[in-house]
Symmetry: C2
């Protein structure tokens, strides 16, 4: 499979490798080769390929904002004044509590994920986010529960079935 000229997709061994790595991240290459029943060099080569492919972006630590003292999460939809998109992006990138920012379909809309120390603190964060000239309007939804935390394994398994 190719997307914009780049070949993508994974086979079953890649899929098993990623799942194994997700379940036991601190596992070594040698142990992986034992679990998967292939040679160590094969695991090395697959891992290198998945990383230079961009399928695996990295192995950074997954940090819980709640444990850092930011237990409140919210999503804010921002309406942007025409032509101010670039400035708004630069502004939002400077706010540590903005964990993520997307531009979406619709008239100059953006969606961002925020965290705060408390509901009261969220007001401060929102003020800082929207206290910028290019932002016309903002509407915020506070997260109460997170029944499905950010995950990728089911998709990896499906991709490995389809493609391998």
């Amino acid at each position: 499979m190719t997307i914009s000229g780049v070949l993508v997709g994974i086979d079953r061994l890649d899929g098993r490798l990623i799942v194994l790595l997700a379940e036991e991240p601190r596992i070594g290459v040698l142990e992986m080769s034992r679990r998967l029943g292939v040679a160590r060099g094969t695991v090395q080569a697959r891992l290198d390929r998945l990383q230079s492919n961009g399928v695996i972006r990295g192995f950074g630590p997954q940090v819980d904002p709640g444990a850092l003292g930011y237990p409140v999460t919210a999503f804010a939809t921002l309406e942007i004044r025409q032509g101010q998109g670039g400035d708004v992006r630069a502004h939002l990138a400077t706010v540590p509590e903005v964990l993520e920012l997307h531009t979406t379909t619709g008239g100059g809309d953006m969606l961002c994920r925020l965290v705060a120390r408390s509901n009261a603190d969220l007001q401060r964060v929102i003020d800082r986010v929207v206290g910028f000239d290019g932002i016309v309007r903002a509407s915020t939804a506070i997260v109460m529960e997170n029944p499905v935390p950010l995950r990728i394994i089911p998709l990896v398994e499906q991709a490995a079935r389809d493609d391998g």
Copy 2:
């Protein structure tokens, strides 16, 4: 600092450790201790503490859905019929393209992150997502750009300053 009886927060050394780990994830404990200028045992102890604290959830591979063949991302807001929340959650959890699900303030609303193989494929995904009894209405925003990809480092640095 405590939240619901659990002590949270990180000091400057914790912060530097997390940043270092985010920049070079495959680094070893010994190399970390050299870079940070502390003893190996200290790094070991800090890492163990951060993980049992829940500050560091794990070191799973960060997989790019685009490289798996799912380059389209969207956010869907779902309106749920009263009392059907649990069923809807269970339903959405079975859809691999649902990467994340939150319940938010407002009348039975949920917000979920979706991926698809193409804009056309997104229709299939949305049909599968909303083809369930408890869902009254859905509105979808397709992501065009991602100026700020999911990040945590700026928040870690702020938390380390405040708390350490």
